[in-house]
Symmetry: C2
């Protein structure tokens, strides 16, 4: 029987690639999708379609963060298009987001006996977001070893971040080889009808496709 | 201006005492209550009443853990009354529960600029539950330092577990001095009209009040 894995699926191309990598490694993948009041709720539909195209079951977890604290949750804060000019932590940082996502994934993994959790964090993310950095994942690994039944009984659940050392174009190249359905993914933070092509997320996506020499089917 | 703290409030007597300790330390307390499908949902009402009696604002966060994995969530698993006979991790362990609770508290703390998170974990809990042990809190502290904006900017949010070295009777004695409204608290895992006086939680409560020499107003 295949080992089970939980895959955090956002609807973007990074986590979609992480899912296809987990499948290629032979895992029986269970996707976890969050509806957390993000302004780009459109990504939830994308995440569902990606899970279906990969023939994987999914759970959608609805959570509210009524205290907001991020331009991704609070429509009164503008999402700036800063591209490579970003210094420090961007306004789209959501306090505790990946810690919350990983803790639900951990609960799910422990309840169904999954061995691993896959997350699509990568090098370009961790320049800005502290909860995407390798030393954060190392610290979280310790929480799993000490704070879960599986951990203290000597079979800790692993966190796998297969994209951690890649940049966007590397991810697109890797995903392209695995036939990730990029046309189903959604990246734009603004979550309009079409990608805005101005926010950071659109900026990095366009740059990545260009550098990878791959056509982005989402852009006309 | 007073420093802010987030207090995880379950409705039980431990977290109520933690709240009154945080207040006595001079914090401006914001309570966080979870509705996570626990069979003893009655504790949510208790938590609200405790927050009101302490004149503190509260947020109720509704989360679902559809994968269950605990007798506290799954009514098809019996909550056994084992008292001191418990060996290993009890069936009432909820995978990842305190990790999830702490990560929401962390998000809340970071969003409102709170300095500390109070949790009512204590010595008798940590014999059974790995997510109540000092080494789990130490590991989580590391996650805060590395995985949050506040942490990487050098002002990590503290986790305070003021009851960690107390047993139930010690907590009751401490709470009694601070006039914690024990009559508003709820402990029974079964969540019926009256405490069942048979489950582990009722067992430890009764033993604690007896040893502390305090009358439990909840028991007729």
């Amino acid at each position: 029987m295949k080992n089970k894995a939980i895959v955090l699926l956002s609807g973007g191309l990074d986590s979609a690639t992480a899912l296809y990598i987990a499948k290629a490694k032979g895992y029986n993948c269970h996707c976890l999708i969050f509806d957390y009041g993000q302004r780009h709720r459109k990504e939830i539909g994308s995440a569902k379609r990606i899970a279906c195209s990969a023939k994987c079951p999914y759970q959608i977890i609805k959570i509210s963060l009524p205290w907001k604290g991020s331009s991704l949750l609070d429509k009164s804060i503008r999402v700036k298009g800063q591209g490579l000019k970003v210094k420090g932590i961007p306004s789209t940082y959501v306090p505790g987001r990946n810690i919350i996502f990983l803790s639900f994934a951990l609960s799910y993994a422990e309840a169904i006996g999954a061995k691993s959790i896959f997350i699509g964090a990568h090098a370009q993310d961790y320049s800005g977001y502290p909860d995407c950095r390798p030393d954060f994942f190392a610290a979280f690994k310790n929480v799993i070893s000490r704070g879960t039944k599986a951990g203290v009984e000597g079979r800790p659940i692993k966190i796998e971040a297969p994209l951690i050392n890649m940049n966007k174009s590397g991810i697109i190249k890797a995903g392209n080889k695995l036939r990730v359905p990029f046309a189903l993914t959604w990246s734009c933070y603004r979550g309009g009808r079409e990608p805005c092509e101005k926010c950071d997320s659109c900026y990095y996506r366009a740059k990545g496709f260009k550098e990878a020499g791959v056509k982005d089917a989402l852009i006309k």
